[in-house]
Assembly symmetry: C2
Homo-oligomer: 256 residues x 2
């Protein structure tokens, strides 16, 4: 990988089924200036000879450098923004961006020295709701409304193509951290989610069980919208710890 | 086909090799609002069961309606503008447009009640120079300059995606012929080319033989740039006929 490319967005394929599509996605990434491929639970294992066979020069480098994960949470851990590609209306309180605006947002992260991620689901079913809940923004590719089921690799190609268009116009390789502020990474947010949800389970807030998944998603989405810094997450986790360690005494913190 | 779609640009695949790519191109067309597929000399014949197997609902309709030709000239005969997709510098005097500008030009044709075409070459070698010479404009997809070899179906997908983006913003379904002016179709131009070249061969203008192909291409490109109407082509052909029928008499047309 050449030096500035780490700032280009990562492509995360969740539960990809066909090696052909993984290989074709890698080729499109290579054509359009992306190189960081992350694969979660590939159906046919990894490395995948069919994916390798699809890879042209350059795409083979992308595949060889790909990282494989068993959970989307881990694949997005170091990223500051995650865009979930889905055509379906998820009834979630998330911003929805089309590819052109999405890659502009990715470039804004790159200019802060951070990295965004583009999350794509399986060929069969797209993204699971729980995977979407790890993203802060929905990425929707404009389509013929009668035929919205896009090929996985073509979806990657279209978004990567918009990245290339943008990268041709503006420099996205100049990190400039503003006053040392560091946005929360996905790992920070996932730590917050799991901390809070464990405490909410303990006090039976997430009840009844059949409503738990949607309640968890709604709470996670609220934090996503908040655009938290690393320090914000530490503060909130401190609050949760403080609230749960000892029962609050009426009248203050003990000084009165 | 629904009624306004005939105005959307046609996709012409010249010498496609793999059924997978034809099927995937049809799927992308369907996703992004294109329906007129024309296939020239498909390597594995037609219909192609592998292409059919790739076709989702909607894409099957595109494949079933596809027309097959043995010459690019015939496939583009009814079109008023043709864009040749190629990354290579052809050293030709033609305008070069990227996908966004290309589909805007296609929409302009549609608004005149005419139809443009997007011409793609084979997976192995892209377009032959003689095929490019049938187009008035080069279509270039911005790429990582180190890896400019795009997958055929992904190239179609990217251009079709730009068409869908544009079609979502403006109406391209309102034909409005200006004062009855009709732009020259490809068939009109090909007729002019063949007429002129036959006459130039007769007078041994296209000489020596090894330079003939490039001389022909340069002359064809000159006419492409001229943006001729149907009437212009008739006028030029009338001139060619007049110039070759009888030797011009010095002093005028016989009235003096």
């Amino acid at each position: 990988m050449s030096s500035p490319s780490f700032l280009a967005p990562a492509v995360i394929l969740a539960d990809p089924q066909m090696g052909e599509n993984i290989g074709a996605a890698a080729r499109a990434m290579c054509n359009f200036g992306l190189s960081d491929l992350r694969i979660v639970r590939p159906r046919d294992g990894w490395p995948n000879p069919i994916a390798q066979a699809m890879a042209t020069r350059g795409a083979a480098d992308v595949l060889n450098a790909a990282r494989v994960y068993s959970r989307v949470e881990d694949a997005v851990a170091g990223l500051t923004r995650v865009f979930a590609a889905t055509a379906r209306d998820r009834y979630m309180q998330k911003a929805i961006l089309e590819p052109e605006a999405c890659v502009a947002a990715c470039a804004a992260e790159a200019q802060l020295g951070a990295q965004a991620g583009l999350l794509f689901g399986s060929e069969r079913a797209g993204l699971e709701n729980d995977d979407v809940s790890l993203a802060d923004t929905i990425l929707t590719i404009p389509c013929n409304p009668e035929f919205t089921s896009l090929n996985l690799a073509q979806s990657v190609a279209v978004v990567a193509y918009e990245w290339q268009k943008l990268a041709g116009r503006v420099s996205v390789a100049a990190p400039a951290l503003k006053d040392g502020v560091r946005m929360a990474g996905r790992a920070d947010l996932v730590g917050l989610f799991e901390h809070l949800e464990a405490e909410l389970d303990r006090v039976e807030f997430l009840y009844p069980p059949k409503k738990r998944p949607s309640m968890v998603r709604n709470i996670r989405n609220m934090w996503h919208r908040a655009n938290l810094t690393y320090q914000d997450v530490q503060t909130i986790r401190g609050i949760i710890t403080a609230l749960t360690r000892t029962p609050k005494r009426r009248g203050g913190n003990g000084d009165t």
